[in-house]
Symmetry: D2
Subunit: 153 residues, 4 copies
């Protein structure tokens, strides 16, 4: 499946430091990034990876990781990836599929990728896995690119 030209151009500039700068800025002022203890692993144009450890205060009534925590981690990864070109954007909607339950103590890895970006619309996919283990959830997010810089000049 072909990626958009935008991704291909961006990929050519994969060593550009600004993607990571934008993501570090976003992390610094994001309540969830901090309260969930999220960690940035990698950030290149059109793709980024984050990690998070499941805690007892993130569980559902059956003692496994709450589906909302999966979604939040994926939505953050998608949002950061879309905003990382320093063009402000917001999630318009998303869908998630739950595949496996993670437990307290599991380290989750999320990877988000740009699938399509054109004008004011972007589609991004995220995949959550247990570190070194199976895929536990798949998310597709629809982004609306509202414009303006993410990092203040």
């Amino acid at each position: 499946m072909q990626r958009s030209d935008a991704v291909q151009q961006a990929a050519a500039a994969a060593s550009c430091p600004c993607v990571r700068e934008v993501i570090d800025y976003m992390a610094s002022c994001n309540g969830i990034y901090q309260s969930f203890g999220i960690e940035t692993l990698e950030a290149v144009p059109g793709r980024s990876r984050f990690a998070m450890r499941v805690r007892d205060d993130m569980t559902n009534s059956f003692g496994t990781c709450h589906g909302g925590v999966y979604f939040t981690l994926a939505d953050l990864a998608i949002g950061f990836t879309c905003n990382s070109r320093n063009e402000r954007s917001v999630t318009a909607g998303a869908s998630i599929e739950f595949l496996l339950a993670a437990k307290t103590g599991d380290r989750l890895i999320v990877e988000a990728r740009e699938i399509y970006r054109e004008g004011r619309n972007g589609t991004y996919d995220a995949q959550i896995s247990i570190d070194g283990g199976p895929v536990v959830a798949l998310v597709r997010g629809r982004m609306r690119i509202v414009g303006g810089p993410v990092v203040p000049a």
Copy 2:
């Protein structure tokens, strides 16, 4: 749009106390219910309502309520509503549409409703509003009814 027979039968038993008992049990052992400060407002067969106040540690990088917090609140409401007949079920997947941004301090109200339930499958809708204000998000969840009691006998 007609509801399933199951809902109609359940509605006939709307004064039954067990729905609220199941939901109170689920709340008592749910990490997110407690860490997010969620409050149960109403619980009848096929429908329930919850409230939650947006806190600073629930924001995104633009200072508004993180979309993952909306989703988590809705997923919890859907899960509690589906499980409230004391038949164990899990979310198989869901989709969300983000309509408006809520701010720190806003009180969110979520209402979940059963739309369809047949065999091992259920479809539930949730709507999140700012208390006394506009709708901010719509969620549709697909539940898999795995069976067995929710509240241990």
Copy 3:
């Protein structure tokens, strides 16, 4: 779950003939409406119903009604319902859940309803049933209201 003010206002004008006029106009110039043999049953503000009989040329490889035919019928009902105020709109996206397989000869009934409409965005739900029988599919559509009249002046 509350409907938008727009629906409530529209409901007050439920006897207005223009909803049906817009839908009849749309039907008259819609290739799928004609090639699928769709029939308009009812059209009031914020809600409409259509019928269609499953034919042999609408089947999948297992001999039952193709899921794409379900989707097409629901998307048409949603689109007609959203456009029926004579304000041009297009489907931005949709999701479908398949519940039961219909067979050749079955008469399908679809009912679409407005759930939310504000500014340029609308959310509409459709439910497909076999006439006099069970629900076979649920669809949620996201509409973008692009504006301009549907019926030329």
Copy 4:
């Protein structure tokens, strides 16, 4: 994003003729494949491509290709791809995003890919483009693998 082991194993056997045999069998008994004039371009384990020309009887009320036709083409491609290991499966649900309108006479190309497959569940993505032109729609389908052979022994 990593593919499932199943896809990787399947990819190793990419020259196996049976994938194409299953797809040709499915095409031979599929009402929509024939009535929509769909053509099989390529079929390897975990991926396949089809083409279809938009006709006047496939249009919406604005004279462009009906969204239901996009969905049908994508659903067929996803279903054929998932069934192509000769293990019977059905679409449980799907979501679609509409990006651009195609016109009568446009030749649509759809490519479906396996994203995840484990036990009875599979996730497949499809992308529709105008031949030699832009992407017009993205679809994600959830498959339920019900088992049993597709091609009778």
